[in-house]
Amino acid sequence: MLTLLGVAVIVLGFALRFNPLLVVIAAAMTSGLAAGLTAVEVLAAFGKAFNTNRYVSVAWLVLPAIGVLERAGLREQARRTIQGLRAATAGRILLAYLALRQIAAALGLTQVAGQAQTVRPLLAPMAEAAADPLSDDDRQRVRAISAATDNIGLFFGEDIFLAIGSILLIVGFLDQSGITVEPLALSVWAIPSAIAAFLIHGARLLLFDRTLKPQAEDAA
């Protein structure tokens, strides 16, 4: 039971907004020591796992390309594209993106979009341009819901694809427990939730437009 103190350290540390990197190491130490390991053993176990999980951070390789494109005006171009569309609102743009992201993920194309390569340079500027002029607070809200829409589209699309990690994990786990399940059967049963997610989040997106306070254009 004492090993759960590590979880308590995480919860408290994140709630009190200490630096998360320090919180993570403190939590590892707490649970490790509670489980009877020495501090050196915990640090070594942490270091080993840190090293084997380096692939998690490889995604940052995409930043130089995105940066050069931003330098050449990509975000401004994304805005200009939207400003030409009269019917565009932040909610409608995000709704269209939600559908695309869910469909692409359902086809196994989870890596074609993402926070660094799509949301920052394209989606967020487009949603902002459609909603402009925006107050500072509303601009922050538009950005946050853009990031949220990418995550929700990914999560409630990817499980419809047969060969995604979570489906393979389920098949393997059930197999060990003596139950044989076809990947196809699992992905089919991910569809009802995917449709519900599209309806629920889609409705929220359309309602979101109404919550943006109209901003006087002639602030000067």
Binding site: T3, L4, I10, R17, N19, L21, L22, V24, I25, A27, A28, S31, G32, A34, A35, L37, V40, A44, F46, G47, K48, F50, N51, N53, R54, S57, V58, L61, V62, L63, P64, A65, G67, V68, L69, R71, A72, G73, L74, E76, Q77, R80, Q111, V112, A113, Q115, R120, R143, A144, S146, A147, N151, D159, L169, I170, S177, E182, L186, A190, I200
Partner: protein
């Protein structure tokens, strides 16, 4: 065979360049902190396999201490002004989207083609890492293409990469750190203990209660561990197999598929899923580090309720 080592070498070189440029950036008062932080990260990519477990642990600790002591600043390399960007956008127009689209196209093509390429019978590219290698290649091609198409200075790729990396700051390292924490938690048996607790408090007498306990358990465990994959074996072994499937006769395919998606509702709610929830807040320069989680919360909670209802309605055929 081209595999992860080459991708790690490329990442290491990139972070080493960030470190070098940070060191030379006299306008950043915390340039030493930035140089040390990205430099250590580069060292991890370039020499991690030779540092030993304890060495890597000390390296991770040093990274956390630099960040925790507030020694990480934000470098502001010279870049184009908003006005210049407007006129560049007017000049290049939709062509600006081309390199951005090259990334997904190459990732897709690479992950399909690389698995089939062989040289004298051995695979040319590690098939298990095809997607990651495609991503690295796509990022490289897109950077060069953008530089050439829009006549950007040669150093711009690295300088602009550093500009964005400094905006993300310590959050860039958090997903990898949390993965390491997951391993230590597993070693200490944290997941097992939480699973036993969840099983103890699960009511065994009604079908709906068992379904609700499983879905809720998946979400709560995922919130605490940051990862639905860690929650799945514990909760499914503890609640779904003996009760929902065993006693009440639920269809395993329906129960597990919707159970996993209930876990994903937890992922949307936890700062421990840093790459989805905290990194975007940094990338989009949000004042509230938890703003993305707040934006997701209503959808996540409603979807959790929907998943309970769906499982209860669809899993029991007879």
């Amino acid at each position: 065979m081209i595999g992860l080592p080459l991708v790690y070498l490329l990442s290491g070189v990139m972070f080493a360049a960030f470190a070098g440029l940070s060191l030379a950036d006299r306008e950043n008062p915390k340039r030493l902190g930035n140089a040390a932080f990205w430099g250590l990260f580069a060292l991890s990519f370039l020499a991690g396999d030779h540092l030993g477990d304890l060495g890597n642990g000390v390296l991770a600790l040093a990274l956390a201490v630099i960040a925790g002591a507030g020694q990480l600043g934000v470098g502001v390399p010279k870049t184009t002004s908003p006005d210049q960007r407007e006129s560049l956008a007017a000049r290049y127009g939709a062509r600006l989207f081309v390199p951005a689209l090259v990334i997904p196209v190459l990732v897709l093509a690479g992950s399909l083609v690389f698995k089939r390429l062989t040289l004298h019978g051995t695979p040319l590219v590690d098939p298990k890492q095809a997607t990651l290698i495609s991503l690295a290649l796509a990022a490289l091609v897109a950077a060069v293409l953008a530089q050439v198409m829009f006549r950007q200075p040669p150093a711009s790729a690295v300088q602009e990469g550093r500009r964005l990396m400094d905006l993300v700051g310590w959050a860039a390292l958090l997903p990898q750190m949390l993965a390491a924490l997951g391993a230590v938690f597993a070693l200490a048996g944290v997941g097992k203990t939480i699973g036993e607790l969840a099983v103890m408090i699960t009511p065994a007498d009604s079908r709906f209660a068992a379904v609700a306990a499983y879905c809720l358990g998946m979400a709560v465990f995922t919130i605490m561990m940051g990862n639905a994959f860690a929650a799945f074996p514990v909760m499914t072994g503890g609640i779904a197999l003996p009760l929902v499937i065993g006693r009440f006769g639920g269809d395993p395919a329906v129960v597990c598929a919707i159970g996993m998606l209930s876990g994903f509702c937890g992922t949307l709610l936890t700062p421990l899923a840093a790459n989805f929830n905290l990194v975007p807040a940094a990338l989009l320069q949000l004042k509230d580090r938890y703003a993305v989680i707040r934006a997701q919360a209503p959808t996540a909670v409603l979807m959790l309720i929907v998943n309970v209802i769906l499982m209860n309605a669809l899993a029991f055929h007879a």
